[in-house]
Every structure is written in C-alpha cells, then in structure tokens.
Symmetry: D3
Subunit: 189 residues, 6 copies
C-alpha cells in the first residue's frame, strides 16, 4: 500500500534511477510483505537551480557503477589474468580470505598460493546478491568452479561463494568459501 | 541530496518503520553514494480511513518478522536441537545444500548425515546480511564453527557461511559452505 | 496509476472524507480509465495551527450534508406531506418544472396541480446519481411511481426521473419527467 | 482550503489533464463547500522511467474520449441516421428503455417503433451532466424535441431527458423520458 | 531538519526562484536554529496547464524587482540627481522623514532643505537588509556619508541609516537617521 | 499561487510553527507579489521515529526565543538598569556603536558615556523589524526617546533607531542612530 516518493536533483542517468526504484520497491516488499501491486515508487526530479541544502546549491556527482558491476568487472579481469585491470578496482588495503583461512593482500600472493592447487580455474555464476548499506555495500556471488587439477584432470561443478565489500567504487575485501577440499577428500577416500 | 518520503497507513510498529527507513537510506547511499547527511527519509502515516486504493479501504496486515530474525530463530532452534521449533519456520518444500553437494529436504536427514562428521557443532556469527527482494529476501550469515570431532577432540575457528531465502515468514532453502574439509585435509597432511 | 493526495485541515468527519476519496477515485477512473487497483487516494490531515492561506489561519466550516442526502430528505418530507420540513430545504427562488411544461414556485401550486391527476403517489427509487460541480451539484434520481388514479384504481411501475440542483445545502430547482401520460394514453387507446 | 495533488505518468494530453483538474475541483467544492479560491489542484507529471508499481514500469494507455463526448457522437450519428457510426459506439449488450417502458436492444427496433410516432425528430440540448464512477460513468442530457408528427404538423419545445451509462468508451444503455405523450394528450383534450 | 517544498507554476526566472529558496532557508534557520546542512529547500515547478485554483488556470505575472534592487536604483538616481528616474520609483503618497523630524513629500522639498546643509553628499553602503512582509517589504541600508560642507570643507565617514518601505515595486516612504548633527556639534565644541 | 509545505519533526511549539508559517508567507509575498489568498503554507509534522537523516534519528532541540523577543528583553533590562539580566543576553564579543562613532564593548562604558548626556532616557517603540538570515538575524527597532537633560528639562519625541544582530539566542552587536544632536543643535541655534 505504500507510496514511496524520492526527490532527486535531475541529471542521474536512467540506470541509476532504475536501481533506486528497484531498491525502494524491494525494501518495501521485504519489510512490509505488501502486495507488489500496492507498492508505488516515484522519482521527482528537480532542476539543480530548484534545490538548496543549507542555502547552497548542490551538484550531484555521478555515482560509481553498481557494486555488482564492479565485482563482475573484477572477476572477469581475474579470469583473463588482467592483473592491472583487476588492481584498478581494489582499495589500497584490499584483503582476501580463502578456504583454510588463507589471507592475502596482493593478487600475486593469491596466484602463488593457487598455483599448486589447480592448473586453472573458471567460474560459472548462478546468482549475484547485493546488500545495500550506509557504509559499504556487500556483493555475494556463488556458482560452480571448473578447471583442471595440477595433473591435468578436469573438474567442474564444485560449489563456491564469494563475498565482496564495495565502497566508493572499489573492492574492500573478498572472502571465499568453496567445496574444493570436500571434493578432494572425497576423491582420496 | 535526495529526500525519500513514504506514505504508510498508520499502524505499523516502530521496528517495522525503522527497517523501512534504514532500508531506504541504505539503498540511496549505495546507489548514489550521496553524503549520508544529505539523505533524508521520512514516513508519513495516514489514518486507515484516509487511504483508498481502487476506492477500497485497506487494512494493512502485520508484516512477518525481519528475515534476519527468522533465520536467527531457526539457527537457535537447531543449535538447541528443538526440531519442532525449527520446522515451524520452514516452507513445505524447504531444501538444504551442504558441502560436497549434499542435499536434504528433512532436518532428520541432515542430522543423520552430520552424525559421523562431528559430535557436536556450534556457531559464532560474525555478521548477518539481508538482501531485500520483490519475490523473496536472502539472508547471509557467516562466522566460525566450534565443536568436537567424533573422537572428542575439540575444534574451533572453522569458517562457514549460510545462505537462506525467506518468503512470507518462512525459510525456502539453505545453502552452506564451510572449511571443515579444508581443516581435515590439512590435519591429514 | 495516479496517486491523488489531498491536504485538509483536520476536523472533517469521516463521512465527508469518505465522499472526497470516493469522488477523487471516481473522477480518476472516469477520466483515465486507469485500472482501479492503480488508483491511490490519500488524505493528509494537518492541524489548524499548521495551515495558513494569505498568512491567515482558516477554520473550516462543517460542510452541508451530501446533495443526495438533501434530496432524499426533501423527497421523504414531500411523501409524508410534511411541507414545513420540505420548505426548509428549498432556496428562496426554488422552481419546479413538471411534465407538460408545468411550472411552479410554491409547493402548494404543485399540490393543487397534482390533485386531479391522482389521489396519491409514492416513489420507489432505483438509483441516485450526483454530478459534482463548482457552482452547484446536480442530483438525479429515477425509479417507479405507484399510487391511485382519481377513481381509486391503483397504478404502479410508472417510470419517472427527477433532477435537482443543490447549492449551499438547499435545493435550487427540480425538473421532473415521467411516463404518466404515456400510461394514460395507452389506457385510453 | 484543500490542496489536491495528483501524480501522473507524463503523456496524457492537455484535455485529459483538464478534465482531471476540473473533476477534482468540482468534487472538492461539492463535498466541502470550500470557497472556490481556496481549492488548489495540481498535477505532477513524472517521466515513465521515474514510476514503478510492483517494481514494474507502467505505460499509461490513452484514455477513451470523455463520456459526454461519446454520447454527443452517438446522438449526432443517430440524428443523421448514420447507424454504422452509432453502432460503433455501443457495447454488445446495449439496451434502450423508452417512454411507456418500451425496451429495445437493436437500433433498428427503435427506428421501427418510432416510425408511426413522428416523421422525424431532432433534439436541442440544454445541458449535459456527467456522473463519474468507478465502474461506469453516467451521462445525462436534456433539452427539447422538435420535428413533425406523422401528419406533417411540426412540433417543437417538447421536453426530454436521456440517461446513458458509459464504460470503456462504449455506451452500455440508454434510458429516455419525454413529454411527447403529455403533449399528445393535451392536444387530444 | 526541515524540508521545505514549494509548488510554483513554471515560468519564474532563476533569480526569482533563488530569492525564494534563500528566503525560505533563512526563515527556517532563523526560527529553528537548525543546522544549515539540515535545511533542504526545493521548488517544484508545474506547467501552467497543470495548476488550477478555484478551477481556474492562473498566469503568474512577472514579479517586480527585489525590494533591495528598487532601493538601490532609487538611491543611485538621487545620487546622480536624476529626479525623473527617482520619481518613477515612488508611490503617489511617498513621504520622507529626515533628522530633526523634517518631513517632505516631494523630492524638490528635500533638495531645498539640504542645500544649506552641504554642497553635496554621497553615500557608501555597508549593508542592505530586507525584511519580508505580507503588506510591504522593508529595506534598510546603512553606511557612511561623504561630501562637502557649505564652505567647501570635505567630510566623510559620517554614519547614516535609511529605511524604506516597498510595495508593488514602488517606495512608500523613507526614514533617515544620521550623525551629521553629532559631527557638527563636535566640531563646534 | 504557490503552495509551501514544510516537513518538521513534531515537537516544536505552536509559536515556533507560527513564526515559520508567517516567515514563509512573507517571503513568498515579497518575492512573488502573489495575491495573499493564493499563498498557502502548510506544516507537516512527522514523529521523531518517522524521520532520519543519514540513517540517524534526529532530536530537534528547542529553538531559542525569536530574535525580536531577545532584543525586547535586552532593552527592557537596560531600561530598568538590570545589567545582570542584560549581560546574560550578550555574546562574549558584543560591541556597541553610538552616534558620533562612539564604540563600547561593556555596558558600563556606555553608561559612563551617557551620564553627562542625559539624566535618564526611556524609549517608545514604533516598530520592530526582523531580517531572517542563515548566519544571524538582524532586528531593527525604532521609535522615540524621552527623558531629562542633565539640567532636569524634560525631552520627548526624539527619533532613534537601533540595529541588533542576533545569533544563537545572543546579541552580537548593537548600532544606534538618533536625533539627540539634531535636537540639541536646534536648541542652541
């Protein structure tokens, strides 16, 4: 039943406004469990000259890409081993946490750690989930790993999940869980 | 810079209204990266008699607990092995997916599967994340497992993550990833 | 799809607010043919102290009864021949126009004119329709006449329609059309 | 004193928006008897991309002509005996009720019934009244008939009233009352 | 914390809208002492065709220049002794009140009165203050006089203040206070 | 024609809300010269729990008295020579500027300066004017002085004007102009 109305200075592009309307609709649906048809969301755009805060005009800066988009770009860069592109998306104190509590702060460390574990690995993504937040957004993605073991045997369908925090257009950290060890243990048994 | 204003039929309790305002604020912050102080969110409550949709009055039904709350209740019930309480929170077609692609639809199956793996297990939660959605909400929680191996040796600090989908106040499914196998493999090595 | 929001000084009783919401909903539906579920109408009540026009506070006067209600009271008073009650609802220059272009300005004239036409007459109302307007409202009602001819023969089911203009809580004029002559001609034939 | 504000997806033409503003103003005036100068009505147009219901964009369809306009077109088509044009404005189950409780469902029936009653008839309209409604609108029009009796004698100034229900741009039914029989009886007397 | 939102028929130029936003911001700051950053002021412009008062469209007339601007023009015209330009800014019943309770209604009277007091006088303005009002605005300006005494001796830095009432783009009256006499007395002592 | 709507957290007392509505009305009238009856100003009060900025609740602090009120209290305290009460209303760096460019920072200095000028002085106020501002408000008041000269001769009707800046409930400075010297010079002549 609610009507959500947001007043924006004009100039945000349509994709940004779409994400706002989707976000408000989803929050409303999640919190109230109101019938979807009863949830109306509207953006009111006002000219820059028609808006003041503290008697000052404001010029909205273009927002960064959606957190999910940043994560997708990072993962694509890593998959094609384009470390320069990947690093450009990382905050200075970016950190990684991998299964077995393996911690890294540099992509090169991760690569060195992975080397004896598999010849190569690719990811198929089942779903991305974004958690909006005041301080940072969180993006989860999960799906299946495929690749080759060090001996060249192929593998596929191994479950994984990644969790990224995103702030100001940069990745703050990555946490990874997956079933690689479960699969290896099952093979050994 | 945006002002978000939502019109609600009065009667929702304060915790529900808090969750709406938090959600709208977080969506706005995440999408626009606007300065937090520039994000104003307001609820306008109107009497039930002052609202019509399709020329009909509407009586808002009390929304279910927050998805995170439902997940917390479920996990607490499972930890104290109160299966009746846990089952009351599950949708009829609830399904579980555990490391090694182990699938269950009944809690009893899960318990049987876990029995040879550890004597008992407890969870410490580092964080809950809720993903709002039109069809369902998703709740992630992660932290560390502690417990005892079948031989009585204690363990702790083993990373895990759970993903639940929640709809209409019930859990639809659970996906679990953790480092148990990574730890066991490391011990065997 | 439209959202109609009206700001009112608080104090109007619920029936009045109901009529506003119904009226706005009906206008919207009639003009736009929008799906009923997409028409949201909301009243925002503000305290008298929170409203100014021309920097003056306003004290809304209680509105008169609904035009339909005034017409119903008039017709009921006439049916029970309570001329005092009926006259209290008439504007000073009230006028009547009956079939055959018979014009009256006093209820007594009407009664004298009707006397040779039937011993008594009653009305059954099928429907009332109100036409909102800036200067005056119009109320239509139609249905069937029943009664006795001068010779005592009963009659019933004779179609009629009345049109009243209503302003400031008083009836301004009445126009009547009916099938009495059609029926009499048919009987004569 | 009220302020009525309606939020519309942009794209409705000016005549449609005019009818909305007139309708809201008239409803307000009729219900509250507020001073006309105290009734403010405003349309807020928002871009299609700035509106969602149930997280869906909506494309408002062009509304049908005003009910009064449809009635005028029908009456004009009938007067010039353009049955095809008239029929195009009728709902499949259109029905007519004429003085003396004459019922028809086909225009041809009406024409056959009227033939012995007058050589031709024209109408002068004094006024149209539209009753907005959720399910259907009602249009009343009244005025004077002129024409020729079967013997060629002219007549004029004979009162009539028509009532049409209009839905989805089509006429649902027509009810007619007039003084033809009253005039004929007076001539016979 | 407040959000001020004003709905205007579109067409006012930016300087006018600026003055509105500044005025609302300043009133809010002055009355509430709210933190400036918490004061949001927004203008909503609606098309002329989307606005009705009393079911009438309104065509906003261009407002007169800001009161301060009118006072500045008047003072500049007086300083360059352009009496025609100055008079064009005066209401018919304009009156002046100068130190020693000297009253004038014509600029010529003022000039005659001033003649023996100084050869010429100029003004340096430190500040203009505008007091908004329903019936009239008030403009204060103060600063320092400089010029020459009748004997040709120069003077400067003599404090003055003017108070003008402004209505409908014309000056209604002027009140003047200054230190000329204080300075002269000090010189005599 | 404008409609001004301000959203406030509830809890401000009526006098404060009155001042806001008056201020917005006066600004609108002054800037647009709109007909007073076309200026609608409305306060929307929302519960504290229904408002967030930067996802934080806000508790509005009670605003200080109106600037005019503070000036009145100060002037009354000075007139009854209650220096303690007067000083309580002064900012730490309060300064005064009197005719003849006499500057003081302490009330005692002012009193010492005035002593030889008159035995006592009282003020009659014709009008107070408040200039709203983002940084400070300005209050002007003017009227007539009365009192006794040092020799005991009474005087009255001598024009004066005071200008105060007010910020955070305290007076920042005072500027005074008056006709005392003009009157004394006239007496000497």
């Amino acid at each position: 039943m609610p009507v959500i109305r947001v007043t924006l200075i004009e100039g945000y592009d349509e994709a940004v406004r779409d994400r706002l309307l989707e976000g408000y609709s989803a929050v409303t649906r999640t919190v109230l469990e109101a019938a979807p048809d009863g949830i109306t969301a509207v953006i009111d755009e006002v000219k820059q000259s028609n808006y003041r805060r503290g008697n000052q005009r404001k010029s909205p800066k273009a927002p960064p890409p959606a957190p999910e988009q940043i994560v997708r770009e990072y993962l694509a860069a890593m998959e094609r081993r384009d470390l320069a592109a990947a690093k450009a998306l990382l905050a200075p104190d970016f950190s990684m946490l991998f299964p077995g509590a393996a911690k890294f702060s540099q992509l090169e460390e991760l690569i060195a750690w992975a080397k004896p574990r598999y010849r190569f690995v690719g990811k198929t993504y089942e779903r991305y989930d974004t958690v909006p937040g005041m301080d940072e957004a969180v993006v989860y993605c999960y799906g299946a790993l495929h690749g080759e073991w060090p001996d060249g045997t192929p593998f596929s369908g191994i479950r994984f999940i990644d969790r990224f925090t995103v702030k100001g257009g940069l990745l703050q950290d990555q946490k990874v869980w997956n079933d690689l060890d479960a699969v290896l243990r099952a093979q050994q048994a």
